[in-house]
Amino acid sequence: MQASIQLQPDLSTQYLLRLGDTCLILGQRLGEWCGHAPVLEEDIALTNMALDLVGQARAVLTHAGRAGGFDEDQLAFLRDERDYLNPTLVELPRGDFAFTVLRNVMVATWLKQWWTALAASSDAELAAIAGKAVKEARYHQQHAADWVVRLGDGTAESRSRCETALSALWRYTPELFEDDAVDAAARASGLGPAASDLHTAWLAEMTEILIEATLAVPKASAFRSTGKHGVHSEHMGRVLAELQQLQRTYPGGAW
């Protein structure tokens, strides 16, 4: 079995890993819908988006690994759980379709703001990645928001599933907007915005979508998830087991 790589990421690498790992892990979760979505067209749509996210992860991880001498595959497949810096929100199990589209709209709205700001990054490569990714995020947001409106303002069943999903997911969102030293450094160097810089725009767009879906914006909760500090939920190990199994078993395998 292939051993893990050991990382000592500096602040800007941690910033990039938070972004890249978000795309990687949500991409993996969306990929789980392949063959399981309610209709063929939606199956293709969800896996298209999974591939967009994996593509974004590749670009960002390639960039993040360069300083330490690691490539995208080593970063994606050979890190220990603690070295993944995605927020907990994206590693939660895919749930039902309401859960999936609600999470997608939360994450796409957030990433759209993030990519938009990153397009002006002092890091030219990151700015170029962002310029391409923001178009994908815009579509992901529109697609998911449409479903949220349909399901929230739909039948009693679809509405109740949305309400359940929304209350389960909302308490994982404060993590997305909490700053630490990584954010301070990124803001100071012009690498990208601090987490908190994106909150106002995110909340405004989310509120608009939820109102259209006739869903109430949940109350803030005191709960704080900590995925972006490497302290994950119980679900992360299982995602990684599936993600890493092939590369761990057949080191360097390619096809």
Partner: protein, 103 residues
């Protein structure tokens, strides 16, 4: 089987849409398939997801399949066979100047 499961299933299905994709500006939208979707907006999104994922398109149209009026296959011989022996309707009997060779 008059009032029946088969009918009900059909009632519960999303309507069918025909999808037309234009590969690039200046070309025609070409029919490329169909899909089920609940309404026009979703139909456009799904058409994008299903039929343009390999860069096939720069524009898509969708049309409700039940809005398309088609010729009756039973009329095929009456409608189309008479044209079989009228080759003079092709403009192939003119001498073209070489400059317009590929017309």
């Amino acid at each position: 089987m008059t009032d029946t499961t088969a009918d009900k299933i059909i009632d519960n299905e999303w309507p069918l849409w025909e999808v037309f994709v234009r590969t690039k500006a200046g070309l025609d939208h070409k029919h490329c398939g169909s899909l089920h979707a609940a309404d026009p907006k979703l139909a456009i999104q799904m058409a994008r997801d299903v039929y343009t994922r390999r860069q096939e398109g720069s524009s898509v149209w969708v049309v409700r399949s039940d809005q398309i009026i088609a010729s009756d296959p039973g009329d095929k011989d009456m409608y189309f066979d008479p044209m079989e022996d009228k080759v003079y309707r092709h403009p192939t009997f003119y001498k073209l100047p070489t400059e317009v060779d590929h017309m």
